[in-house]
């Protein structure tokens, strides 16, 4: 059949050519208006015919045109299409294509389909690969920071292979997943390498996201991988290499001398309540316990544990088009050593994208992505001791090797007899995994208005992690050793079947689709552990005691019907409606199904006659969208009352109450209203402003229970959170001359969230007794704790605020208390920022490019939990302490009103949770500076290259913040052990310096 189609096509083509037997050849060359470099792969066609050609690598083209005058249409993605009048037989036609700054006619991949930019009716931001690639990372989230209005990106960990947390337009769910839905090449989920990414589309309002229904509450990020753009095979190679150093922020620990002086505070002659205190430091006693010689022992534990570490990234790709086949093949290798010793990550990724055109009607797409990764993680306790061990203790023995330390080691000054360097040397926390994605796409044009589109993915991954501690280590596994292994098998299938239609009648155009979708996946875990290993071997087979096994699995099923209709009139008025119906296995039989409609509209005013050819306004569009999305992503069976069977007593299986029943548990639904305006001025400045209001109803919340019911929480739908905000994106070409160009991108997003409809206040208390309150009129993640008022000038005791309430329960005054239990627990600000955004500038002078990206975040609170250890008023005098920026002003005696730190002699409860450790999390960071040089083409050609560029980049150059602790970027995900906005000893973020060379050939 295909052969037939081919034959028909060929005949038709032949026929066409014959029809123009009177034709004459024309030749010419297409160059970029900007740098006068030839552009290859440009489509040159004769207007009104199907006759066309493509430019070669040197930009030249030739094709036949009818005798006499005709018009050539010259078009290329990213450039403004140009029409040129030619006469048959003309040669050496010079065409300059201008870059399309507005990219109005770019095709944007949205939801299950794609649209032209000017047809969009909803808030959508596109980030092209050239704006992403200034940052080299293994994670696309890190690359997006500061580049999309409304997108908050938090790099809370600098561990090798760590990925950023992303929030779109604030946080609208609490215990359900808050991360935007990733869609790779039109299919939900999926694996890819950042080097293979062509563009990122961020869908922000319900007009676009409602199509993803119950998975789209947190927005949708669409990743499109590269495909061939031009005929001949093109190669691209990129080599990046550099190094990283740990950024401790203000977490600078005391050195030997500072610690020595600080310890003297313990020797103040002060016993609380005693009549004969002198309040003098008893130096004689001090020197007895701390001889002066201690000061000669100065070891920087964090410096010994964190070293600068190399990073490499190699990328090679080939792409091209033939009549039948479009193909792209990309290979990437990424390797980073962690700054914390004995940590690393490496990953290799292979991608093949191909679309085979069986006929004019039938395209089949086969995309495959293979990746494998491995790395070494770390043990939290090792990092903990790297900060807390005393500067007087030498980590090394006489041979320069990390020394073995236990409780019999003489002279050890640190709190615990642990040398983390020795433990690290004798342990292994490695992981490895591979991942395969195969996408099959079928596009069959049934008639000229109806297409059947099927996209399907099969994915599977296997991951294995291991923790091994040698019998040689000090501590709990000394002499026995320990090993555990965990294997994770994850597999699933996604299938979407759509019928797409497209009609045009005069000024009216209507298109859309209907279809169904199915998702199913399963994760299976299994593992084992044991002790009693012989020295040197580290497999489960050699454990001799305390063997344990574990294994369980989770399953996920979602099935859906979906539809969309778009209508436009005269290319000025656009209306779009969509509806999705989801069935989820996560809810009880009565609540399994939910519907998610949306409607959106736009008026492209600049296409009206009164604005046509306006010299100031070249684009003006007003948009509005209204719709619903939902969330069900809370894991299976949350509505059931459950007993967990994972324990044993006296070697018999035990069942433990695990979850409270809630048969009424249902979808969280988010009503989204968005209004936006897009303005293009002078063909240079693009301004996009969006205002939105998103009401998330029936919040899926793990509602805190009184602990006396035997459960911490119960899954429930409680309350509403309203996110209101405005986001502004400006991109402007400030200066543009032949040799010099300066452009600026600026994004900012103000977001405000308010809770309402909560039956009664919900207080969630996490580790360390750090609480957050959910109350009507309050914010999400609002810290709830006693207010720190400093030090009692008379006693040196810590002081908190105690509010005095009248009989109606209103606070009418306050007093100070040094009794922590008496202090009033109160709202102390939210972990979520008031605004955040990015300010990025790029400059080009001739072949030199400089790009500076910055990111800012304002108005959130971060609880710096490690201060509990590192600013502990000598409550535990054997932990190293933080260097306070202004020096510690420890209370010296009655009447000391200048003291900021309590007396070590009277510090009861001073390290308990209070606003003492709650800090302003605002920051401004110079995220990235990238400087590059593109070799002149002539030079490149000499080494058989089409283009070569060389660049240096510096990431996380500087962060400006008042935050006391490691950097203020702190997790905002409320799962597991982490309370949002609580910073603990974490893997520090990295400064990164890279040299990158790009080759095109």
């Amino acid at each position: 059949m295909t052969r037939k189609i081919l034959l028909i096509c060929s005949c038709a083509l032949l026929f066409c050519l014959k029809g123009f037997s009177q034709s004459l050849p024309v030749t010419g060359r297409v160059v970029s208006a900007l740098d006068k470099q030839p552009i290859a792969g440009v489509t040159v066609s004769v207007k009104g015919t199907s006759n066309g050609a493509m430019t070669k690598t040197d930009g030249t083209f030739s094709l036949n045109v009818p005798a006499g005058k005709s018009t050539l249409t010259i078009s290329f993605i990213g450039y403004i299409t140009k029409n040129v009048e030619v006469t048959g037989g003309q040669t050496n036609i010079q065409v300059q294509l201008a870059e399309d700054v507005q990219q109005l006619n770019d095709v944007v991949v949205v939801g299950y389909t794609s649209k032209k930019q000017n047809e969009l009716t909803s808030a959508v931001t596109v980030v092209s690969s050239n704006k992403l690639k200034d940052v080299t990372a293994n994670d696309i989230g890190t690359m997006l920071q500061g580049k999309v209005a409304g997108l908050q990106v938090v790099n809370s960990s600098g561990a090798p292979g760590a990925i950023a947390e992303i929030r779109l337009r604030g946080v609208s769910s609490v215990n359900a997943n808050q991360s935007p839905l990733f869609v790779v090449d039109g299919i939900i989920g999926g694996n890819y390498d950042p080097n293979d990414v062509e563009s990122i589309t961020v869908l922000k309002d319900a007009g676009a996201t409602a199509l993803y229904g119950s998975q789209a509450n947190a927005g949708v990020i669409i990743v499109t991988t590269k495909t061939a753009k031009q005929g001949e095979t093109r190669f691209e190679a990129k080599i990046s290499t550099g190094f990283r150093t740990a950024d401790f922020g203000k977490m600078k620990m005391m050195n030997s001398n500072e610690m020595y002086d600080y310890q003297k505070e313990r020797y103040r002659d002060y016993i609380v309540g005693a009549p004969d205190n002198t309040y003098k430091i008893d130096l004689a006693a001090f020197y007895r316990e701390y001889p002066l010689s201690l000061r000669d022992q100065d070891y920087n534990w964090s410096k010994e544990s964190f070293k600068s570490a190399p990073i490499y990234n190699f990328y090679l790709s080939a792409s091209g088009k033939t009549e039948k086949n479009d193909y792209y093949v990309g290979a990437s290798y990424y390797k980073e050593k962690g700054t914390f010793i004995n940590t690393n990550f490496e990953r290799v990724n292979l991608r093949g994208n191909s679309t085979y055109h069986f006929s004019k009607k039938l395209d089949v797409t086969n995309n495959i992505n293979l990746s494998a990764s491995q790395g070494k993680s770390y043990d939290y306790m090792d990092m903990y001791y790297s900060f807390l061990n005393m500067p007087w203790d030498n980590p090394y023995d006489a041979n320069g090797q990390p020394r073995y330390v236990d409780s019999s080691t003489p002279g050890w000054q640190s709190r615990d007899p642990i040398n983390p360097l020795h433990t690290i040397q004798n342990s292994d926390h490695s992981y490895k995994g591979f991942n395969i994605n195969y996408d099959l796409g079928i596009n069959y044009r049934i008639t000229n208005w109806l297409t059947f589109a099927s996209t399907n993915r099969v994915s599977a991954s296997f991951d294995k992690s291991m923790n091994y501690v040698s019998p040689l280590t000090a501590g709990t596994y000394h002499g026995t050793g320990y090993i555990d292994e965990l294997n994770t098998l994850n597999y699933g299938v996604i299938s979407n079947q759509l019928f797409k239609f497209d009609f045009k009648m005069g000024d009216h155009a209507i298109n859309g689709f209907v279809g169904g979708a199915f998702e199913s996946s399963k994760i299976e875990y299994s593992g084992g552990s044991g002790k009693g290993l012989p020295e040197g071997l580290k497999v489960l087979n050699v454990v001799s005691n305390t063997q344990q096994v574990n294994g369980y699995n989770n399953k996920y099923i979602l099935q859906s019907l979906l539809s969309q209709v778009n209508y436009s009139y005269k290319g000025r008025y656009f209306v779009s409606g969509s509806y999705r119906y989801d069935g989820s296995a996560n809810f009880s039989p009565n609540n399994k199904y939910g519907g998610f409609p949306s409607i959106s509209a736009a008026w492209l005013a600049s296409n009206e006659e009164f604005l046509a050819d306006n010299s100031i306004i070249n684009n003006l569009k007003i948009r509005g969208a209204y719709g619903f999305t939902g969330t069900q992503d809370i894991g299976a069976s949350r509505y059931l009352g459950l007993f967990s069977l994972t324990t044993q007593y006296n070697s018999l299986v035990g069942a433990v109450p695990y979850q409270l029943e809630n048969p009424n548990l249902t979808w969280e639904s988010k009503r989204q209203i968005n209004a936006g305006i897009d303005i293009g001025l002078f063909k240079r400045v693009n301004l996009t402003v969006d205002v939105y209001r998103n009401d998330t109803k029936d919040l899926l919340l793990q509602v805190s229970q009184p602990l006396s019911v035997g459960f911490e929480t119960k899954w429930d739908n409680a309350g509403t959170v309203i996110n209101k905000g405005i986001e502004v994106g400006i991109n402007s070409t400030n200066i543009k001359t032949k040799d010099f160009e300066w452009s600026t991108d600026f994004t900012i997003n103000f977001n405000n969230n308010k809770l309402s409809g909560i039956p009664s206040d919900i207080v969630k208390t996490g580790s360390w007794g750090i609480s957050q309150i959910y109350r009507n009129g309050g914010n999400l993640f609002e810290f709830y704790m006693p207010k720190w008022l400093g030090v009692d000038a008379q006693t040196g005791a810590p002081v908190w605020e105690k509010l005095i309430y009248n009989t109606e329960g209103k606070a009418v005054g306050s007093e100070k208390t040094s009794n922590y239990a008496e202090a009033t627990t109160q709202e102390m600000g939210s972990a979520l920022p008031k605004y955040q955004g990015g300010f990025n500038n790029s400059f080009r002078y001739k072949n030199f490019n400089l790009r500076v990206s910055t990111y800012f975040n304002y108005g959130n609170k971060v609880f710096s939990n490690n201060l509990r250890f590192t600013l502990n008023d000598l409550g535990d005098p054997k932990f190293n302490q933080i260097q306070l920026p202004d020096g510690p002003k420890v209370w010296t005696g009655p009447g000391d009103t200048q003291a900021t730190q309590p007396s070590p002699q009277n510090n009861t409860n001073s390290t308990e949770t209070s606003s003492r450790y709650l800090k302003d999390g605002s920051y401004f960071t110079i995220r990235n500076i990238a400087f590059s040089y593109t070799l002149p083409t002539a030079w490149a050609n000499k080494i058989a290259m089409k283009g070569v560029s060389v660049g240096v980049t510096a990431d996380n150059v500087a962060t400006f913040s008042n935050f006391l602790g490691q950097d203020p970027q702190t997790t905002i995900t409320p799962n597991g052990f982490s309370t949002p906005g609580v910073s603990d000893f974490k893997y520090p973020n990295n400064r990164q310096y890279l040299l990158t060379v790009n080759f095109n050939f």
Binding site: Y267, V272, F643
Partner: protein
């Protein structure tokens, strides 16, 4: 070709759009509905309740080695006593038991409260299911009895830690009683008396239902023992004598002898004294980060070894170096036989929670053993004025502790009361087993902590002069009227349950 493609497409479509079963069941949990309708399920739920005494279960999203019912059961009581001295200041909340810097936010009371009520909820689920089923066979009765026992045991341990002693104020705020599943989540505290009434009712019911299936499980004797203990605390001395006599008289349990006592705690599940212990097996050896022993014993690597037998307790034992009970106090000596110091405090490790299977961190902690019953009876007899009977029971213990030569023989030493003698003996016999603070405060006595240790606010190594008695420090003595003889209710309960009032 085209047909083939269409066939494939059609197949894919059909496969994709066919309605799949949208029900997913968890792989390692079963629904409460299922568990209560099968005998197997109820047995598993009861095993789970026992397991919670030893497991580290997730709390605040984290499995923390510090969090274990029994670890905190001992820390919260014995670290507040005069038997254990703190050798190192710490930010760990266990420090608050030493220095009385209690806080509603301290992690150990929060977990202890939580897991206690999880045990109670588990057994309440079984009780409600069994009573609905109407079954009364022996196996079901045993199951039901054990559930009642565990509920009583947990409620009683809570009321001891979080409420004033019955003898001090029976009408004081007790704890929140959870005796059925249908009560609202928000509930006020019952009075101490109401809690005791409920504990006694549950225990009596339990005693009537159970027989014996090994010391790893609750039994009729365990319920009688609990009744003896509760009645003693309630100062219903006649009842205390009655119940303890029942246990002693059952003949099932005998005092360990001079020879067997040293191996008692390492072999609790087979020891002649054990009435009820929580069984730990080899897989429950939590090592340094989560065992009971790791704070009070270390072989150099096995534990933190930061808390030791106090000089006060050692002074009380000093007259009798031959006492076999010394064997559970292990001085850390250097090569010259000199006792080592940690931060100025002499290191005397405690080994009552070690050496099951020879492992330094493994034991099956004993909740009730026969020696306590003799001492309960002795105390009750002493309070009823039956000095001779009281001292006979004390001598019964001493005979088996290598003190045959130092018996009281019904004669109270000069300057002491019979109660003094009983309490002194109990202090030594039951040391580190979670009794001392309750015994002091419920008898309206004062705890004297005038010895060197880091319970003294701001003390440092150079202050320590072991030849002198420390003076001038706050909280050096703790009278029973000190509000910090009990703990604050956890912050979670107070913030989520406005009906629960905080302790002063």
């Amino acid at each position: 070709m085209k047909k083939k493609i269409f066939t494939i497409i059609t197949l894919v479509l059909v496969a994709a759009s066919s309605c799949k079963n949208l029900n997913v069941n968890p792989s390692d949990a079963i629904s409460t509905g299922t568990i209560v309708t099968t005998t197997d399920g109820l047995t598993n739920a009861l095993n789970g309740a026992y397991a919670l005494f030893k497991d580290h279960i997730e709390f605040n999203g984290l499995v923390d080695g510090n969090n274990m019912y029994l670890r905190q059961f001992y820390h919260l009581s014995d670290f507040a006593s005069d038997d254990i001295v703190c050798g190192q200041a710490t930010t760990d909340p266990l420090f608050y038991s030493f220095n009385l810097g209690h806080s509603p936010a301290q992690g150990n009371t929060r977990y202890y409260w939580y897991v206690s009520y999880k045990i109670i909820t588990g057994v309440n689920t079984v009780i409600s299911a069994v009573e609905k089923s109407g079954k009364t066979d022996a196996a079901t009765n045993q199951l039901l009895g054990e559930c009642y026992f565990l509920r009583a045991f947990c409620h009683f341990n809570l009321v001891r830690l979080f409420a004033k002693p019955y003898s001090v104020d029976p009408n004081a705020s007790g704890i929140i009683l959870r005796t059925n599943l249908t009560d609202p989540a928000k509930k006020a505290r019952s009075t101490v008396k109401e809690v005791y009434d409920s504990v006694i009712a549950d225990s009596e019911k339990a005693a009537g239902l159970m027989t014996w299936r090994g010391p790893q499980y609750a039994s009729q004797a365990a319920a009688w023992s609990l009744l003896a203990r509760v009645n003693l605390y309630k100062e219903d001395n006649a009842k205390a004598i009655e119940w303890s006599t029942k246990v002693i008289g059952s003949g099932k349990f005998t005092l360990a002898t001079n020879e067997t006592f040293p191996a008692l705690f390492a072999n609790a599940t087979t020891a002649s004294e054990t009435i009820f212990c929580v069984a730990f097996t080899a897989v429950d050896d939590y090592g340094k980060f989560g065992s009971i022993a790791s704070m009070i014993y270390s072989d150099g690597n096995s534990g933190w070894g930061e808390e030791f037998a106090s000089s006060s307790l050692r002074a009380a034992m000093a007259p009798h170096p031959e006492d076999v009970r010394w064997l559970y106090i292990i001085p850390l000596k250097d090569g010259n036989g000199v006792v080592q110091k940690k931060n100025g405090i002499e290191v005397y490790y405690i080994s009552k929670f070690s050496f099951q299977g020879g492992l330094p961190n493994l034991s099956s902690p004993i909740m009730f053993r026969i020696a306590e019953l003799y001492l309960i009876r002795a105390e009750a007899e002493a309070k009823m004025g039956n000095t001779g009977a009281a001292l006979d029971d004390v001598d019964m213990i001493r005979k088996n502790r290598n003190l045959e030569g130092s018996l009281y023989n019904k004669v109270v030493p000069a300057g002491k009361s019979a109660l003094d003698v009983v309490l002194e003996e109990k202090r030594i016999e039951m040391a580190f087993e979670g009794h001392r603070t309750y015994d002091v405060f419920r008898n309206k006595r004062t705890l004297n902590k005038a010895y060197w240790g880091y319970h003294l606010a701001g003390v440092k190594e150079t202050d320590i002069d072991l030849s002198k008695t420390p003076a001038g420090y706050p909280n050096i003595t703790v009278p029973y009227t000190n509000p910090r003889t009990i703990y604050y209710l956890p912050i979670d309960e107070i913030l989520s349950n406005p009906l629960a009032t905080q302790n002063p």
